[in-house]
Structures are given as C-alpha cells and as structure tokens.
Amino acid sequence: MTDFLDTLTAAAPRLWEATLVTLQLSVGGAAVAFVVAVLLGLASLSGVALVRGTSRVVVEFFRGTSLVVQLFWLFFVLPQLGVDLPSMTTGILALGLNYGAYGSEVVRGSINAVPKGQWETTVALSMSPVTTMRRVIWPQAWALMLPGLNNLLIMLIKGSALAGFIFLQDLTFVTDQLRRTTDTFVAFGIGMVIYYLIALGASGVLRWLERRAQRRLGLAPPTRRERIRQNAETARLQGTGAVGAPAGGGAAGAPTGGGAP
C-alpha cells in the first residue's frame, strides 16, 4: 500500500501534465468537431446540390479513413507541403475533423427529426430560411442532438489516446511509461480512473445542456429559478408589476428584476 502511494506521489506531476494534455485535446477537439459538425450538417441539408454533394463527400472521406491515418497525414505530410503545425494543433484538428464528420450526421438527423409541421408553419408565416433555422428549427433540433453529441464526445476523449502517435505525452502515453517503471495493474488502474472522471465530467456537462434544452421546449419541468423568472415575465406582460407567485412563494423577492420597465 505504501508502495502504491509512493508510486503515485512520484508520478503525480507527470500524470497531471498528461491529464492536461488529454483535456486540451478533448476540449479543443470537441470545439473544432462541433463547428465542423454544424457546418457539414447544415450543408448536407442545403437546397444547393453542389453544397450537399460536397458535404457528403467530405463526411464520407473522414468517416471512411481511419483517425490514425488522418493524424499521420496531418503530422507528416502537411509539413512537406509547407504547413508546419504544432503537435497539439495537429491532434486537435484531426480529432475535430474526424468526429465532426460523425457529428454532422447527428446534426442532420436531429434537424430532420423536427416535425414537418414546424417547417410548414414557418412557411405560412413567411419566415426567411435563416430566421426559420435560427429561431425555430435549431432550438428544437438542439435538444434532440445532445444525446448523440454526448456519445461522440466520450468517443472523442477516448480517441484522443492516439495522440501518442504524434509524440504528444497524453494520458495514455504517460500511463504506458508508468507501466514500464512500476506496476501494470497500478498504472493502468490510475489511467482508467482519470479517463473515467474526464468522461464523467464531459458527459455531465452535456446532460445538463440537454435538460436545459428540454425545459425550454417544455418537455421537462422548469427549475425553481426559471419558474421565478417566468412568473416575473408574466407579471411584467400583464403590467401588474408584482408577482402573484402561484408557485415558490418564498421566492417572491424575485420580481425586482422583472418590475423594471
């Protein structure tokens, strides 16, 4: 047991560094992947055949070639073409493009899953395509796509382990080093726990977003805070200036914000 603690204390700084590398890859990769997913997803629904087709080809390309090959290509081939990116940037780009391609399918599917009647109503109200997407379709699709994006995020975090191939000292890389100098069981045990905690945190954030999105659609009961804000808004709308606070009576102090004209 003391052995274990000694090992852990000795390895802690390196593990911490490695965890930061993995976190950077994950957060950066997820950010790029999200942008790529939204752009490709929207493009795949475009009315212009060329845009649709291009998106299709790009998605199939990134889904159909392995992440390792993409990583190697960015790392070894791009420099030969005169583009020299830092390893971290390369890793983030590769993860972002690859998982973004998968994500675009989630985005596309979710937008398609918004009931047809919603689209038809925007036509009946003469809304522009941009207003339609931004104000009506996207907020509804957003709630639908979060579970799928959550899955992909977890896969991206695990996929970031490939960064060792381009000499980034990420969590997998360092855990493996640790195994050579200490004990396999301990090293991988620690690695697993840290990965698990990262995934847990990431997934927690997305589930929070999902619940929030569902509440906005009235699919889940509003939180106490939202309920208070809503009551204040209702009061403001009715011009009474005070809240009758049907629910959460103790919180009747809230209308200070709502009373302002």
Partner: protein, 251 residues
C-alpha cells in the same frame, strides 16, 4: 382575391387535381367540403405554397403566386415575388404547430418582428390585444405544452392574425380537439369573421359553423367541384345525390 386557373396537382402518378378553376372574392368566406381524399387540403396547401403546383396558375389579387406566363411560356416566379405575395396569406393547421421553444407571446410576436420588421414593443402590444381577443390574455408567458389543445389552437389563430393576412386558410382546425374544446375555437373564428373582412377558405366538418360564417360552400369530389351553393341551400337541398349522401354521413 383568389383565382385558381386550370390547376393540376399530381403526387407522383396520382392526379389529385385535374384542371381545377374557381375564384374567391375579396372578403368572401368559402367552405370546402367533400369526402376524404377529394383534394381539399391540397388546395389550401397549394395556396400556402406548401406544395408544388404541377400545372396551371394561382392568382392572388391578380398577381400570379408561384408560376406566371412570360413570353407565352409558363415559368416559376422568383422566390422573392413568391414570398411577397405569400405574406398576404395566413394559415391555421389542424395540429396547431405552435413553436415549443417559445412562450405563447413569443409565438405570436416572432414573425411580426422578424418578417414584418415591427418593433418588439409594437408586436407585443398587438399580441396582447390578440390574446385578449382569443380569451388567453392570462397565458401570455406560458409554454405551449402547458396549454390544452383548444388553447393552443386559439394561440395559433392569434399568431396567424398577427401577420395581418388578407386571406386566412383554415384546414380542419378543430378536428384534433376533444369535443368539449371545439366550441371555444369556433367562437373565436366566428368573432374573427364578424369583426374583420379577411377572406377565408375553410375546410371543416362543423356544418353549423360553416353555415354561420360562410357565404358559399363548394362540394368537392375527386378534385372537381361537384356543386356550389349558399350554405343553407347546400345543407338543405343539394342538387346531387352524391352531396346528399356525403352530408348525411357527416351530420
């Protein structure tokens, strides 16, 4: 106000409308009746540009809606023109289709603000007046999900009216409602009919309502107008046996 000229609508190989022509005057209220599949919904959806017109023309106040004759050839109009003309038309759907991501009041102000360019305050005031008119002033801040079907449909009516349409299309707007909620919605529509001069095309199975608000009833069968008459004539002494049977079945 509205004129269909030799309108043809096909879905794949099935022809739903085959050379349909009819006109509706400004301010007129016309009820469309007919057996299921006779093309009533299709007519309203063509007017709302929710379906593509296979052949023929639809005119709104003399202005061709989706297709026009140019140099003797029938061509599609530019989207900009279609949008401009479409703005004069509003529609209420069977399934209400309120935007679930917005409160009741935002459902109503959304299009006036983003399409007509009204200020938020202006749109809100109007929305309040409309909510009052449909009897839902107190639910302005509610979510659509918190409302009954009848209340949702009344919001949908207010939302359509907020765009100040010259033509209002109503496709079986009470068919999805529990029977006890139907009357509130019909009462709101009667009021709209009484207090405005909006041209209305109505598809409904509520014959008493059709009698009360419409000037003319068109009986459709297989995409053709079988007969047309004033409501009291149509509902008491229709010309065709087919109409008699149909009315008997739904009354």
């Amino acid at each position: 106000m509205i004129r269909f000229e030799d309108v043809v609508k096909k879905f794949g190989d099935t022809t739903v409308l085959e050379g349909l022509s009819f006109a509706v005057e400004r301010g007129e209220r016309v009820t469309l009746i007919g057996p299921s599949g006779s093309g009533k919904t299709t007519i309203l959806r063509l007017l709302m540009t929710l379906e593509h017109l296979t052949d023929g023309f639809i005119y709104v106040d003399g202005d061709p809606l989706t297709h026009e004759l140019r140099g003797g050839k029938r061509v599609e109009r530019r989207p900009k023109d279609v949008t401009r003309i479409r703005r004069r038309i509003g529609m209420v759907f069977q399934q209400f289709n309120l935007f679930p991501n917005m409160t009741v009041i935002d459902n109503i102000t959304e299009a006036p603000v983003h399409v007509l360019g009204q200020s938020r305050e202006e749109a809100r005031q109007r929305a309040h007046a409309l909510l009052d008119q449909v009897g839902l002033k107190h639910r302005a801040g509610a979510h659509p999900m918190e409302l009954s079907g009848g209340q949702q449909q009344r919001v949908a009516i207010a939302r359509a009216l907020a765009m100040d349409p010259e033509v209002l299309l109503l496709d079986e707007v009470t068919s999805a409602l529990d029977p006890e909620l139907v009357n509130d919605v019909l009462e709101v529509l009667r009021e709209v009919a009484r207090t405005t001069d909006i041209t209305m095309l109505i598809v409904t199975h509520e014959m008493q309502f059709a009698r009360d608000v419409s000037n003319r009833v068109l009986m459709f069968d297989h995409g053709h107008i079988l007969e047309e008459a004033a409501p009291d004539v149509m509902f008491t002494s229709p010309e065709h046996e087919r109409t008699r049977q149909f009315l008997q079945a739904i009354l």
